[in-house]
C-alpha cells in the first residue's frame, strides 16, 4: 500500500492550538465597525434636536453658502438644521413600525408554522394574502384620503402594510424548525406556546428574522417618506431624513447635499445596524462556528483541480480522472 508514503510526506502537526479568543477577536471588529457606523446617525438623531437651535430665516431653495454650510433645501431652509432635527422621527417611526409589524407577524407566522390544523393556517395566512395583492400605495392613498393619521397612525399603517410580507417570511423560515423533534419534545414537556414558538422555533430562525427586519426597516423609512408626500403621518416638508431625500431630489444637481447627507445617514443607519446584528449573532452562536482548524488534508487534494484543465484543452471526455 503506497498510501502511507503520501501520508508520511504530508504528515503535519495540528500543533499550535487555536483558541476561541482569537475567533472572538476576529468577530469583534466588524461588530464594532457596525456599531460605529450606526452610531453617527443614532447620535445625530438623539442629540440633534438638542443642538439644532432656532430656525433662521429662509432663503432661496437649493442654494449653497450664505451661512448654510450644507446649503438650503427645497423650501429654502438650512439643510444642516433639518438633518439635526430629522433623525428622531426616522428612527422612532420606522423602528416603531418595523417593531410593530414584527410583533404581529412573528406570532402569526409562527402560529401558522406550528399549527397542525390546515384550516387554522389558511385562516391566518390567506386573508393576509388578500392584503398582499393590493398595492400598498393604494392602501396608503385610501387612508390618506379617509383618515388623517398622525405619526402613530402612520406607524400603524406602515406596519399593517408590512405584516403580510413579514408573516410569510416568518412562516417560511420557521416551518422547518417547527417540525423538528425538539418541538415535539417541548410539547411533550407541556411547554407553553410562547416558549416553544418564540423561544425555540423563533430562536432557530432568528438570523433570518434579523436579516429580514434589518432590510425591512430601510424599506419602511422610505414608505414613511412616500406616505408623507401623500399627506399621511408626518408633514410633507417635515424634518425627516427620508422625507428630505424624497423631497430634495429635484435639486440633486444644484445642491446635492440636501439629498446626499440624509441618504448617507440612512445608509449608515441601515448598514451599521445590520452589520452590528450580524456580528452579534455571529458571536451569539460562536460555538456553532467552524471548527478551529481544518484537518490537515493531504496535498493530493489539490490535484483535483487539474481536472478543470480538461475544459480548457478540449480533452476527450473520458480522460482518466476518476476519483479512484
Amino acid at each position: 500500500m503506497q498510501g502511507w508514503l503520501t501520508g508520511e510526506r504530508l504528515k503535519c502537526a495540528v500543533g499550535r492550538g487555536l483558541t476561541g479568543e482569537r475567533l472572538k477577536r476576529a468577530a469583534r471588529w466588524p461588530g464594532r465597525a457596525g456599531l460605529l457606523i450606526a452610531a453617527v446617525p443614532l447620535l445625530l438623531a438623539l442629540l440633534g434636536p438638542l443642538i439644532a437651535g432656532d430656525a433662521g430665516p429662509r432663503t432661496a431653495s437649493f442654494t449653497l453658502g450664505g451661512g448654510h454650510w450644507l446649503g438650503t433645501d427645497f423650501v429654502g431652509r438650512d439643510v444642516w438644521r433639518q438633518i439635526l432635527l430629522g433623525g428622531q422621527s426616522v428612527v422612532l417611526v420606522a423602528l416603531a413600525a418595523t417593531a410593530l409589524a414584527y410583533a404581529i407577524a412573528v406570532p402569526l407566522g409562527l402560529a401558522a408554522a406550528l399549527t397542525h390544523r390546515a384550516w387554522l393556517e389558511e385562516l391566518l395566512m390567506r386573508p393576509l394574502d388578500v392584503l398582499l395583492a393590493i398595492p400598498s400605495l393604494l392602501l396608503i392613498l385610501l387612508v390618506a384620503a379617509v383618515f388623517s393619521p398622525g405619526a402613530a397612525g402612520l406607524a400603524l399603517l406602515v406596519a399593517l402594510v408590512n405584516i403580510p410580507d413579514a408573516a410569510r417570511i416568518v412562516r417560511a423560515a420557521a416551518s422547518e424548525a417547527a417540525a423538528r423533534p425538539a418541538v415535539e419534545a417541548l410539547r411533550m414537556q407541556g411547554e407553553t406556546w410562547w416558549r416553544t414558538a418564540v423561544g425555540y422555533v423563533g430562536r432557530s430562525a432568528l438570523r433570518t428574522f434579523a436579516a429580514d427586519a434589518g432590510v425591512r426597516l430601510t424599506g419602511v423609512l422610505y414608505l414613511v417618506a412616500t406616505a408623507a408626500f401623500l399627506g399621511v403621518g408626518v408633514e410633507p416638508d417635515a424634518a425627516d431624513w427620508a422625507v428630505m431625500v424624497d423631497r430634495n431630489r429635484t435639486g440633486l444637481f444644484v445642491q446635492p447635499w440636501a439629498v446626499v447627507v440624509p441618504a448617507l445617514l440612512i445608509v449608515a443607519l441601515s448598514m451599521g445596524g445590520n452589520l452590528f446584528f450580524d456580528a452579534l449573532l455571529e458571536r451569539e452562536d460562536g460555538e456553532n462556528r467552524k471548527p478551529p482548524r481544518p484537518h490537515p488534508k493531504p496535498f493530493r487534494q489539490y490535484f483535483r483541480y487539474f481536472r478543470y484543465f480538461r475544459y480548457l484543452r478540449y480533452f476527450p471526455r473520458h480522460t482518466k480522472e476518476g476519483r479512484r
Binding site: M1, Q189, G322
Partner: protein
Amino acid sequence: MSAAANVVAEVDDLRVEVGGRAVVDGVSLRVRAGAVTALVGASGSGKTTTGLALLGAYPPDARVTGTVTVTDDLVGHVPQHPAAVLNPARRAGALLADIARTQVRHLPRRERAEAAEHRVTEALSRAQLQDGAALLRRYPHQLSGGQQQRVVLAQALLLGARVVVADEPTTGQDALTKRRIVAELTSVVQQGIGVLLLSHDLDVVRELADDIVVLKGGRVVEAGPAEQVVSAPRHTWTRQMFAPQEGTRQMFALREGAAGAGPRVGAAGAEPRDGAAGAAPREGASGAGLRTGPVPDPLPVLEAPVPEVPVLEVQDLTAHHRGRGSRRTVEVLRNASLRLQAGRRVAAVGRSGSGKTTLGRCLAGLHRTYEGEVLLDGVPLPRSLRDRTPAQLAAVQYVFQDAQASFDEHRTLLAQVARTAIRLRGAAPADAAREAGELLAEVGLGEQHLHSRPGRLSGGELQRAALARALLARPRVLICDEITSGLDTVTRRGILTTLDRHLSEQPDLALVWITHDLSTVTAADQILVLDAGNTVEQGPANRILTAPRHPFSVALVEASTGARVTVAGA
C-alpha cells in the same frame, strides 16, 4: 507488508481540550488497511471526539494538540446520530446519487446514469436496505431510525474510502440486520479498507475488531490486539466491561442490575407468565394482557380476566402515514393491541422499520393518523399531545430514539430538563432545577454537563438526559425508544438500575420498552414482536425469549443469542 506500510490513519498523542477540560487526552491509535480498530469505552469517554479527529473535525473553541494523519482526503463516516447527516430538505438518496456521480465521470456520458444507479443499488444492498430504491425517494424523516442509519452506512460503503470511521454503526439495527451488516463490514475490510469502529456493542467489537483501544475519561487505558484485550484484559475497567457478558451474554443484565437495587426485584414481580403453557400466576400478578393481531397465531389469545383496570390500553391500533388533506395512506402498523398494568413492563421488538417507534409515538400523542383506541385508565387519550392536559402529558412520557434531535440546541441541559417538572408538575423553578440535577446525576451526568448545551454532550449522555427529562414528569407510562443503544454495558446497567428503582418507588409506573437489544428485555412482563407492522407474536418475555413460536421471533431470538432455539408449539 510491514505493519507501518499498512497504516492508513494514525492518531498520535491527540489531546482535545474544551473549556479547560481534556475531553481526549493523549490518545494514540492506528488504523490499518484491511483491519478494524475498535475504540471502546464508557459513554462520554471521548470515542466520538477521537473519531471525528480523523475527519478533521474538532469541537469549536477546542484547544487541540497532537498529530492526526490520514492517507486519503476521503474518509467514510457513519456518525452516531445518522439523522443529523441526512439533509432534511433533500430525499434520502440525494447524497448517494451524488457520490455515485463522482465515481462514474470516466464513463461515456450515456452510460453514467446507469452505472451510478447500479453502484447505488449495490451499496444499498450491502447496507442491508432491501427496499432501498423506494426508501431513497423518501425524505429522511420518513425513514425509521435504523433505516436512516443504513442509508448513512450505504454512503460510507459507496464512497469506497480507504478509511471509514464507523460510530456505532449497528445500534439502530435489529439482531438480524446487525449480523448481516457485520458480515458486510467484514467483507469490506477484507478489500483492504481500514475501519475505526467506535462501538458499545461488544458482540460486534468481538466479531470485527483486529485491534482494540479502550478509552476511559479520554485516556487510553488499554490497547492491543483484539484477542488479547478480550480474553486477557489488563485494566479493571476493561475487565468490567467485557466480563459480565461472558456466558450470560448479557441476557439478564436487567435482572442482575436490579437485584442489587431495591426490594422490589424483578424476578418475583416481573417473572413472565406463559399463558399458553398455563403456568400458575405468581403472587397474583396478572401480568400484562395479551391480544394479538390478525396474524395467524396458534396461541390462545387472552389470559384469565384481569382484575385491575390497565393503566394503558391499546386496541386495534392501525397507524399510517399521510400528508395533509388526503385519505391516501401508508400503513406502517396494523392492529396492534396491548394492555399495560401499573408496574408492568412491555417490550416491543422487531425488525428495523417494523413500526416500533410509530407505536410509541402513537401512544405519546406524536402520531395522530391511526385507527383504534389508546386508553389511559379507560379513558381515550386525545390523539395529538397538543390536546392532552398536563396531567395526561405527564402520565404518558416518551423518550425519543434520536435523543440529540429532541433537545433544543440553544439552551443548557439543566434548564431544559427542569422544565418538565415546572410545566407538568407545577414545581417551583428552584425545586425543579434541584430535582433535575439530582436525576441527571443519578444517570451519570455531572456538574460540567448540566450547564452545557446539547451540542457539547456525547451521544450516550444525551440519551441519559432525555430519559431524565421524561422521568422528571413522574409518568405513569414511560415509553423508552432505544434508550440504551448508545450506552456501554456498565452505563447501561446503571440506567436499567435507575429505571428499576423508579419502577419500585413508583408502583404505578409502567414501561413500554422499545429495543433491539433482547438482553434488556428479559425482565419485561410481556414482549410484542413486530414485523413489517404486524404483531407476529405477543407473550410473556420468558416464553418468547426461550420458546418463540413464530418463525420470525425464532429468527430474531436466534440472531441475538447466537444459539438455536427450539420452536415451542411448532
